[in-house]
Symmetry: C2
């Protein structure tokens, strides 16, 4: 396909776990070319390289709050973007903000392309189509919650922390919050402050004091998506999706798959901003559609 | 959306379990109008109604071998079709046969839209995108295999039969073959003939003689799709999809969801033939994309 030969240069903005995983995934792909990974403080270099025609698409693996601005800057100059923006409530706004920029720039932006939001969104969408009435529960974990971990670290008296999300079913979660105290901190007071924090006050939370957080470090995560619904007039249709995964590796891989889809949509001149439920799943895969119809359908 | 107001009349060809489930699913939808269910011997009436402009799309719930001809006839006169054609090896051929007809007729055909092929194909595609290296196993059942049941019924000495597919993992299946003998038939000889039949010779098959097949009847089925693969350079990414479902109800529901997608693709003038992995998942759902971005992404 022409677009694989002419416009397949992908750069990465953001040096973290996810950026490095995306770099690996890009290097493993046969249809996309990795052109470089840029620290987000070096965005001007990236933009210069993009304007010089060296880059067709950029994977944004920056902190999620920085995504909207970087995406807008790149789309304006006709460079396609993908991101794993994960603030669920702000996704519709981001989509409508980037839509006119992508159209004007004749580029494509695929947003919220991680595993949740992202591939889980596709599974929820498919489950909805299979059984239009019913309830889908998303049960996360066990795995680390970045947001909760950062919130805990900000509390006075906390030297280091790790918040694990434990699924209790029906979308309810327990927080196992591991805390290393600063020298001289009052354990009881720190615990009370943590339990009153908005991040923890609404869930069952257990504070566990430990001497070392690093020894608990594990980027494993998982999800259990479950729906009991109605197809036609038949109730009790049971659908379930489970994953146990290395979190940054999966996110990096999804970003690369989404970058491929972005280039394909751009090659078809279907400029605009998309979430993953709006993209043909086969566009995520390298090579000809015909091959996948033969082997996957 | 305009297409919901102007061209949403769906008819069904085929009076079986799946046709009736599709009728129920159509009646439950708020955006599609059920215009009638036709016996496949009455195809000429359906064609007349379609030519008279009363029908925009047809759900083909006929025997699978009859699908290619009915679809071709309808696409030629500009009527969109959906089917759950399930002979996996012939799907690429059907796709390429219907493609020019659909384009010429300015219509859309969604083929192989059941649960396997169909929604399972979408899950396999998504799993491939999440972990590009690895093996996906499709484990069917427990549930009735129509093909094997029909083959067993054709054997001399068999009055009635039911072949159940039992998953043994890694895509290997056991056949539990329940047989009611004709009066005077030799059980040993019937069993030997069955075990030599091409449908049963390659799998572990157990023949169980019973007095009554109807009392075993159950349209439940299921699948376990499992992939252990590699994301970026990280191995042991574990992905799994499970269903336990009423088979005709799910197939009928998927056909209706696919009919919705066909009308939407037609409204966008994206004429042609598609499998489900080539369709944006949100096109399967009723109502505005914006609503689903908000609730599912």
């Amino acid at each position: 396909m022409a677009f694989f030969q002419t416009m397949n240069n992908i750069a990465i903005l953001g040096y973290g776990n996810i950026g490095h995983a995306a770099e690996q995934a890009l290097k493993n792909s046969i249809d996309l070319t990795f052109t470089g990974i840029y620290h987000h403080s070096d965005f001007s270099s990236l933009l210069a390289d993009a304007k010089a025609g060296k880059i067709d698409g950029v994977i944004l693996s920056t902190p999620t709050r920085a995504v909207p601005e970087y995406a807008a800057e790149l789309l304006k100059v006709g460079i396609s973007t993908v991101d794993s923006f994960d603030i669920h409530t702000r996704i519709p706004q981001l989509l409508s903000d980037l839509m006119p920029l992508a159209k004007a720039g004749k580029a494509v932006s695929v947003i919220a392309a991680g595993w949740d939001p992202g591939s889980d969104s596709v599974v929820r969408c498919l489950m909805q189509a299979l059984a239009p009435q019913g309830i889908t529960y998303t049960n996360f974990g066990p795995g680390r919650s970045m947001g909760h971990t950062v919130a805990a670290k900000a509390v006075e008296g906390v030297e280091d922390a790790l918040s694990m999300t434990i699924p209790l079913g029906t979308g309810i979660h327990r927080r196992m919050l591991y805390v290393k105290l600063k020298a001289g901190a009052d354990a009881k007071q720190v615990e009370q402050t943590l339990l009153k924090d908005d991040y923890f006050a609404h869930d069952e939370t257990h504070v566990v004091f430990v001497d070392d957080i690093r020894s608990l470090n594990n980027v494993a995560h998982g999800v259990n998506l479950v729906r009991n619904g109605v197809s036609a007039d038949v109730h009790n249709q049971r659908l379930e999706f489970n994953m146990t995964i290395n979190n940054p590796a999966l996110t990096g891989q999804v970003l690369v798959s989404a970058a491929r889809a972005a280039l394909r949509l751009k090659a078809e001149q279907r400029y605009g901003a998309y979430t993953m439920i709006e993209i043909p799943p086969v566009y995520l895969l390298e090579g000809e559609t015909e091959k996948w119809v033969k082997t996957l359908v």
